[in-house]
């Protein structure tokens, strides 16, 4: 019969329409600004810089190695290395970024900077309501604006942050153990040096001047 297909389709539409009144599972949208879907754990918007402790200026993990600046595909990171050094999160003396800017109007949220950073210093945020009336200054994030505490990272990506912290903790413990072993070795060496007639170190390569 002509028109049978059309009637069947209409019945399907009616079923969907009426269904949305009886079955909450059929309602698939939320009323956005009032109601929000919580961000997924892996969700990403724009990068931020992690700092440890309470002081953003002191605890920043970034050592201004500039790898992310080089690898960022649209080149939206701008870094100036500091002239002096200060201790980083494991206590090693390192450079720090004097300037660290990200132009988030150019950033494409690709996460490449996060992947290439060897110091776990830059991570992805989930904040997306960043609209601004100042399209030049307002979207150029500087060091102060980018710096967020490690707790924030734990809040938005708990699994990933726990893994990173575990790795960093292990690294730090290893470094400390090594420092301790070095110190002990030094003490031992000093003690050995105190004994007359120290054995010449045969394994050391001869230095040719």
């Amino acid at each position: 019969m002509l028109g049978e297909g059309i009637i069947k389709g209409m019945a399907e539409t009616a079923r969907n329409f009426l269904g949305s009144y009886t079955d909450p599972a059929r309602l698939v949208t939320v009323e956005f600004p009032e109601e929000k879907v919580p961000a997924k754990e892996n969700a990403r918007s724009f990068p931020f810089l992690i700092f440890d402790g309470d002081d953003a200026a002191k605890g920043l993990r970034c050592v201004a190695c500039q790898i992310c600046e080089k690898e960022c595909p649209p080149k939206c990171i701008y870094i100036t290395k500091s002239k002096d050094k200060k201790p980083d999160y494991v206590g090693k003396s390192q450079f720090y970024p004097a300037v660290f800017d990200i132009d988030i109007s150019v950033c494409m949220s690709c996460q490449i900077c996060v992947e290439v950073c060897p110091f776990e210093a830059i991570k992805m945020d989930t904040e997306f309501e960043l609209s601004n009336t100042d399209r030049f200054g307002g979207l150029l994030f500087d060091k102060q604006k980018l710096a967020k505490p490690n707790e924030h990272y734990h809040k938005i990506h708990p699994t990933e942050a726990a893994e990173v912290d575990g790795r960093l903790g292990a690294e730090k413990a290893k470094l400390e153990a090594k420092a301790k072993a070095d110190a002990e070795a030094k003490v031992k060496a000093a003690a050995a040096a105190a004994i007359p007639k120290p054995a010449p170190d045969s394994s050391a390569p001869a230095v040719v001047k």
């Binding site: 049978e4 389709g9 997924k40 690898e71 595909p73 290439v116």
Partner: protein, 390 residues
């Protein structure tokens, strides 16, 4: 297979010689459809010459969205181009990632581990579902079924985009695959969620077919419209569902067996007439086959590492050489041709975009048809301008 080298003559020929340059002569009318025409799915223009309602000449004009993708890729590192591939065909970022990763893996001799291969198949087939769902929704919208089928299609697509977001952090610009594997492992509970989404998909397809496939208006509008012969399809290098709708059995998943596709049991649906209806049906049938593959892959996925231990994130420099990797993307053969000179950037980077090449037969399909049919013929080609213009 027999090939015919001669380009068949257009069937409809009433033009006086003076109007072949596109000028309106006599009762001919030249119309520029686009670049901001709702039916062109982006910024794309069809210059059509009409005789009454009939199309006598059609010239596709594109390039409005040109972003210099290939040149940018030659000036950035191998890894740096990965997020740009997401933006080629922005509905199918996972398959784009895979095609690019595949060619770089060929170049650098990397082998993704078992689990990564399964994840790739799963994400690629989910992408195929997303793409075909959108396509049938848009096609029906072009035919005048305003809104409703498209919204149903988008409702289903949403579940899959949620899965992509949970996995890669982004709904559309996934940037998920890496050379030699994948970026992150599946989050806890992902497989169960994916199984649920896939299980409900067959139900959705049944609903969708009940909704419109038998609809008399749809049948009248699509059957016998925009016929593409298998000879022309082969000669014009058409690939993907377009080619198979014309009855040519060619699916790179079967021909190349890239990844681990040979382990899955699925069939390749073929069309008979090569008209818009066949191209519509092929997509629906392919989605059913994708559901089949997904069920097998989600059942069999092993545990293990997700990236080749030889793969390097920083300082990646493949040795000099060239490679071409291709996959059966949702739109057709998507290939990346790379030449390396041993530096961190590719020396040459070339994309074989299925949308662009499938678009080349648009005129042949539209000649002699009504101008309203040109809209649905374009819709059935399945183009994304991000990929056509690059």
């Amino acid at each position: 297979m027999e090939t015919i080298t001669e380009h068949p003559e257009p069937k409809y020929e009433i033009l006086p010689k003076t109007s072949t340059n596109g000028e309106a002569a006599g009762n001919l009318l030249e119309v520029a459809m686009g670049p901001h025409h709702p039916s062109t799915h982006g910024v794309f223009r069809m210059d059509v010459v009409l005789d009454g309602e009939k199309v006598v000449k059609l010239k596709p004009v594109f390039g409005y969205l040109h972003r210099n993708h290939e040149k940018i890729a030659e000036n950035t590192t191998y890894l740096g181009s990965m997020p740009y591939t997401d933006r080629l065909d922005y509905l199918c970022s996972m398959t784009n990632n895979w095609a690019y990763a595949l060619s770089v893996e060929k170049l650098a001799g990397l082998q993704p581990p078992e689990r990564a291969e399964y994840i790739r198949v799963i994400t690629a087939e989910l992408t195929r579902l997303v793409n075909h769902t959108c396509l049938v929704g848009f096609l029906l919208q072009d035919m005048g079924a305003l809104g409703t089928p498209l919204m149903y299609a988008f409702r289903e697509r949403e579940w899959i985009l949620d899965l992509f977001e949970a996995l890669s952090g982004s709904r559309m610009m996934c940037n998920y695959m890496r050379f030699g594997g994948c970026r992150v492992d599946l989050p806890a509970g992902w497989i169960e969620q994916a199984k649920k989404a896939v299980d409900s998909y067959s139900g959705f397809l049944d609903e969708f077919e009940k909704f419109l496939t038998e609809n008399e208006i749809l049948v009248a509008r699509t059957q016998g419209v925009g016929v593409l012969s298998s000879e022309l399809a082969i000669n014009a290098s058409i690939t993907g569902p377009m080619l198979r709708a014309s009855g040519v059995n060619y699916d790179i998943r079967k021909v190349d067996k890239y990844g681990i596709y040979e382990r899955f049991d699925f069939r390749v649906p073929l069309g008979d007439h090569g008209d818009v209806y066949d191209r519509y049906m092929i997509r629906l049938l392919e989605m059913r086959e994708s559901v089949k593959i997904l069920n097998q892959a989600l059942r069999d996925i092993p545990a293990g590492p997700i990236i080749d231990p030889k793969a390097k994130i920083r300082g990646f420099r493949p040795k000099a050489g060239e490679a071409y990797g291709r996959i059966e993307g949702p739109k057709g053969e998507l290939g990346f041709y790379l030449i390396s000179d041993g530096s961190p950037n590719p020396y040459r980077y070339r994309v074989r975009p299925p949308s662009l090449i499938n678009l080349t037969v648009l005129e042949d399909m539209c000649l002699g048809q009504d101008v309203a049919d040109a809209v649905i013929i374009l819709g059935s080609v399945d183009i994304v301008l991000g990929e056509v213009d690059r």
